[in-house]
């Protein structure tokens, strides 16, 4: 049990002393996971709108596929992306393996189905007459859609936070496509696994606590933002 306490002490000490390695690892974690979440939202919300609001054959299959994506194993995504990015793979010419860009791609793949599934559910929750009302008031399709997204912004924000939570905490994809290179692609989760394999348990727990802390901070910012904005009509 004292290893947990040691971990807490180590976490505080590493952050406050400005330990360069820890701050670099933390900064990279934020950069990779926030960027991946951005991408997942930018791709996922329009996709979710299409699935939720339009009728096309196979729509329910697509919805079921997106919901299945909620359980997509990060390690499997990592393996798929690795095979694509290998030198001998179809995207090998870009030399992206073992770079933060590859990690962002992999995490975006993990996050997008989460956004699609939850955003589709969020959009369908809004009264179906809402769109009709908007268009009756003279709104173009685009503006009606923006208004709809505004109506559903609380659950949409929850979808973004769920995607962020999933990608910031995953280790399988980050390890495979990033390689956990010191100073280049080491993030909090992969650093924690490495510390564990070296028997440095307090350090591993410290990284875990720092991860929880920054995930909390991000979610706090988003939650405060969503409650401070006046409701726009």
């Amino acid at each position: 049990m004292d290893v947990l306490l040691d971990g807490l002490v180590a976490a505080v000490r590493l952050l406050l002393s400005g330990d360069a390695d820890t701050w670099a690892i933390t900064a990279l974690t934020l950069r990779v996971s926030l960027t991946a979440t951005c991408i997942a939202v930018i791709i996922g919300v329009p996709l979710a709108a299409a699935v939720a609001l339009t009728r096309f054959p196979g729509r329910r299959v697509v919805l079921a596929a997106a919901n299945t994506g909620l359980g997509l194993p990060p390690v499997v995504v990592g393996l798929f992306i690795t095979v694509l990015l290998w030198r001998s793979g179809p995207l090998g010419a870009f030399g992206l393996l073992y770079t933060p860009t590859a990690m962002i791609i992999a995490q975006a793949v993990i996050g997008t189905p989460i956004v699609v599934a939850l955003a589709a559910a969020a959009l369908r929750q809004v009264d179906p007459d809402f769109l009709v009302q908007m268009q009756g008031l003279g709104a173009t399709r685009a503006r009606a859609l923006m208004a709809l997204i505004g109506e559903a912004r609380l659950p949409l924000l929850a979808a973004a936070m769920a995607a962020f939570g999933a990608v910031v905490s995953e280790v399988g994809a980050a390890q495979m496509v990033g390689g956990n290179l010191a100073g280049d692609t080491r993030v909090l989760t992969t650093a924690a696994v490495l510390a564990t394999s070296r028997g440095e348990f307090a350090l591993a727990i410290a990284f875990g606590l720092i991860l929880l802390f920054i995930a909390f901070a991000v979610n706090l910012v988003l939650t405060l933002a969503q409650h401070r904005e006046p409701v726009r009509r």
Binding site: S33, L34, W86, S88, Y98, T99, P100, R198
Partner: protein, 269 residues
């Protein structure tokens, strides 16, 4: 405020070495976990300008990465597998770098009485005793040596007592510690994470743990960095690197962890 947070995440320049001056080194978890590479690689980059991306996996996987052309140079410790690999013809030089040894570790009480006997006899005794034996089970160099010892003892290990973790040496040592069982470990990892396990069998030639560096060539695929591979191989058998290898571990653990061997005749056994 939301926008600021998102911009902070979405921005940022791409960092990291360019593809032209970076090479991929596939090596074993024992060289990485011991911390040896953390010392050697910055010195290599300072001396030659080549950046190294280290992929630390078992020797078996490292060789497979080399075969596929996904690694430029290998630093591995599985001599039998390496020799078969070199025979396939896609490699450049294979040079001796350093050695240390494997040790059989277990509980202090030594229930299977393996102290002081030949390693193959020790393996036979653990099999007969039913005391747990924990294996890496991951095609690593350590796993390969363990398999050779079983083969030499004429035993195929199966049964409840034989546990394969499929993980690295640290995790395997911890499982052995928790279950009061035996395992084969490289000395360096055991020294840094002994738990309550003690060395019970050591010193035989069959427990010699030899590391080689293997250059990959463009035979393995396009987009290789054979110049980087040659630079790395040349550097690691050169005097400055060999001296760093010899001194590594003295400060932290009080003993030499790897014995530099470049230029010496291949060890037998």
């Amino acid at each position: 405020m939301l926008a600021v947070l998102l911009l902070a995440g979405c921005g940022g320049p791409a960092a990291g070495p360019s593809a032209e001056t970076s090479l991929i080194l596939a090596t074993t978890t024992s060289t990485q976990d011991s911390g040896l590479l953390d010392e050697l690689l910055p010195a290599f980059t300072a001396a030659t300008g080549w950046q190294v991306k280290t992929v630390a996996v078992g020797s078996g996987q490292a060789i497979e990465l080399g075969r596929r052309g996904e690694a430029d140079v290998l630093l591995v410790h599985s001599p039998a597998t390496e020799q078969k690999f070199v025979a396939e013809g896609a490699t450049g030089r294979r040079l001796l770098v350093m050695h240390n040894d494997f040790v059989l570790v277990g509980p202090k009480s030594d229930p299977a009485a393996i102290r002081g006997v030949a390693p193959t006899e020790a393996m036979a005794r653990t099999a007969r005793s039913g005391v747990p034996f924990v294996s890496r089970g991951d095609d690593s160099g350590t796993n390969a040596r363990e398999d050779q010892l079983w083969a030499a003892a004429g035993i195929r290990p199966t049964g409840q007592w034989y546990q394969e973790t499929g993980q690295g040496m640290g995790a395997t040592l911890r499982v052995a510690d928790e279950h009061g069982g035996y395992t084969l470990s490289d000395r360096a990892t055991w020294l840094s994470q002994p738990g309550s396990l003690v060395v019970l069998n050591e010193g035989d030639r069959q427990l010699l743990n030899v590391y080689h560096v293997i250059e990959m060539t463009t035979h393995a695929g396009d987009r290789m960095q054979p110049d980087g591979a040659v630079a790395f191989a040349d550097w690691i058998v050169g005097a400055p690197a060999q001296q760093m290898i010899g001194e590594f571990g003295r400060a932290k653990l009080g003993q030499q962890l790897f014995v530099p061997d470049a230029g010496k005749p291949e060890p037998t056994g």
